[in-house]
C-alpha cells in the first residue's frame, strides 16, 4: 500500500531516437504534476461470444487484444522549462540557440517537409512509487507523444494565473522495472500573469493605453488529433498489440479570450470589418526565462456580449489564419534548460 503522493514522475526532455527506443536517464527530468493520478495501462481482452459453432451463445475463451492506453495529463504552472518542452514536442519544428540560457524557436511542422513525416518527436515517461527492491510501481512507458495542450491565463493571484497542461498518449510499450534513477525534482522557473510584458491581439494592446484594463482571461489550445497507430508490424507487449506510430490528422489551434466592454471597444468592429493582425503574448521573468507566442494572422470569429463575475464582458473566439510568409504560429522560449527535444 502506498499513498499516491509518493508517486514520482519523470519524462524525457530530450527526444527518443526512435518510437521504440526509450530515453536514457541523462535525458529524463523529474517534475511535479498537478494531475495526481498515475498513467494507467489498460490491456484489453476479447472473447469468442460472437462466434458460432460452440453450441451456445456464451463466451468460452479469452484472447489478448491490445493495449488501450488512455491519454494522460501533465498539468503544470506555466514555466519556461515546461512551455519549451510542451511546445517543442507538440509542434515539432524546433531551432535551438545559445549556450545557457537556451532559446528555442518553435513552429508547427509541415507534413510535406517534416523529416519524420506526420510524426512528432517521442519521449519516455517514468512513474515510480518506492522504486527499488520492493517497488510499488516502477515502469517506463516508451513512445509517448503530446496530443494537445492548453495554456490558460487569467486575472488571479499567484501561480494559477498562468497554467499549462498537456494531453499525452503512449503506445503501450513499457519496461518494468524502469532501470531509471530519477534525478532530484526540478525547480522550474515559473511565470504568472504579473510577468506578462506584451499582450496584443489584432491591433488591440491589452496592457497599456485605452485597452489596458480590459483583459480578463485567455485560453489557447492545440490539438494534434492523432490517428490510431495500430498496423501490421506495430508491435506487441505481453502478447497484446501496441501502437507503432502517432500521426497527426487535422490539427486545430484555438484561442478564446474574455475582455471587459468599454466605450469605444473595437472588438466588434474588428469582427465586422474582418480585420486581421498578429496576436502576441509575452511572459518575461528575467533575462534567462521568457516566452513569446506569436499568432501570425488572427481574426475574430465570434464576439459575444456576456457577464463575467458581474462585469460586462466580451467573449471572443479567434480564428487563426495561416499566413503565406510566416505560417500559423511561432513560439520563442528562453530557458536555462539545455537539450529540450534534441
Amino acid at each position: 500500500m502506498a499513498n499516491v503522493n509518493e508517486l514520482m514522475n519523470g519524462w524525457g526532455f530530450g527526444k527518443q531516437t526512435a518510437i521504440g527506443t526509450a530515453n536514457t536517464a541523462a535525458t529524463i527530468w523529474r517534475h511535479t504534476n498537478l494531475n495526481t493520478k498515475p498513467w494507467a495501462k489498460v490491456p484489453v481482452n476479447e472473447d469468442d461470444r460472437a462466434e458460432i459453432g460452440k453450441g451456445h451463445e456464451f463466451p468460452t475463451a479469452l484472447f489478448k487484444s491490445h493495449y488501450n492506453m488512455p491519454t494522460y495529463e501533465i498539468s503544470k504552472y506555466a514555466s519556461s522549462e515546461i512551455l519549451a518542452w510542451g511546445m517543442a514536442f507538440s509542434l515539432g519544428n524546433v531551432v535551438v540557440t545559445g549556450t545557457g540560457p537556451y532559446t528555442y524557436v518553435i513552429v508547427p511542422a509541415l507534413g510535406a517537409t517534416n523529416p519524420t513525416g506526420l510524426e512528432l518527436p517521442y519521449f519516455s515517461f517514468v512513474q515510480q512509487i518506492r522504486p527499488g527492491g520492493s517497488a510499488v510501481l516502477d515502469e517506463i512507458l516508451v513512445g509517448c507523444a503530446i496530443k494537445g495542450w492548453k495554456l490558460s491565463i487569467k486575472n488571479s493571484p499567484g501561480r494559477a494565473s498562468a497554467m499549462f497542461s498537456c494531453e499525452c498518449v503512449a503506445t503501450g510499450q513499457y519496461t518494468t522495472p524502469s532501470g531509471i534513477t530519477l534525478p532530484a525534482v526540478a525547480t522550474p522557473h515559473e511565470f504568472n500573469a504579473g510577468m506578462i510584458t506584451a499582450l496584443t491581439v489584432n491591433g488591440i494592446n491589452y496592457l497599456t493605453g485605452g485597452s489596458g484594463k480590459q483583459f480578463v482571461s485567455m485560453d489557447a489550445s492545440w490539438e494534434n488529433n492523432f490517428r490510431p497507430g495500430f498496423f501490421p508490424g506495430s508491435g506487441t507487449q505481453d502478447g497484446y498489440q501496441i501502437q507503432g506510430r502517432f500521426e497527426w490528422a487535422d490539427r486545430a489551434f484555438a484561442i478564446q479570450f474574455v475582455v471587459r466592454v468599454q466605450s469605444g471597444s473595437t472588438e466588434y468592429s474588428n469582427l465586422i470589418n474582418q480585420t486581421t493582425g498578429t496576436a502576441t503574448i509575452t511572459f518575461t521573468r528575467d533575462a534567462q526565462n521568457s516566452f513569446t507566442m506569436t499568432v501570425q494572422k488572427m481574426g475574430f470569429n465570434v464576439v459575444e456580449l456576456s457577464n463575467t463575475d458581474g462585469i460586462a464582458t466580451l467573449q471572443i473566439t479567434g480564428v487563426q489564419l495561416y499566413d503565406p510568409t510566416n505560417g500559423l504560429l511561432t513560439v520563442s522560449v528562453t530557458t536555462p534548460q539545455a537539450g529540450i527535444c534534441q
Binding site: N93, V94, V95, V96, T97, G98, T103, V105, V107, L110, A112, T113, N114, P115, T292, T294, Q296, D323, T325, N326, G327, L328, T330, S332
Partner: protein
C-alpha cells in the same frame, strides 16, 4: 548576432540565418529545419546578409 544553420526541405541548400523568431519564422514555416554547422563553411549562403 547569433545565427543558426537551416537546411531546405529538399535538402539541397543550407543557409545561415539570424537566430530571431522574426527571421526564422518564414524559413521554419516553409519547412526549413535546423542542422549542425556544415564542415565547408563557404558553401553556406548567409541569409541575414541577403535580407539586407
Amino acid at each position: 548576432m547569433e545565427t543558426v544553420f537551416l537546411e531546405s526541405p529538399q535538402g539541397d541548400e543550407i543557409k545561415e540565418v539570424e537566430a530571431t523568431a522574426v527571421k526564422l519564422s518564414p524559413y521554419l514555416a516553409s519547412g526549413w529545419h535546423q542542422v549542425p554547422a556544415p564542415a565547408k563553411h563557404e558553401t553556406v549562403v548567409l541569409a541575414a546578409k541577403e535580407d539586407k
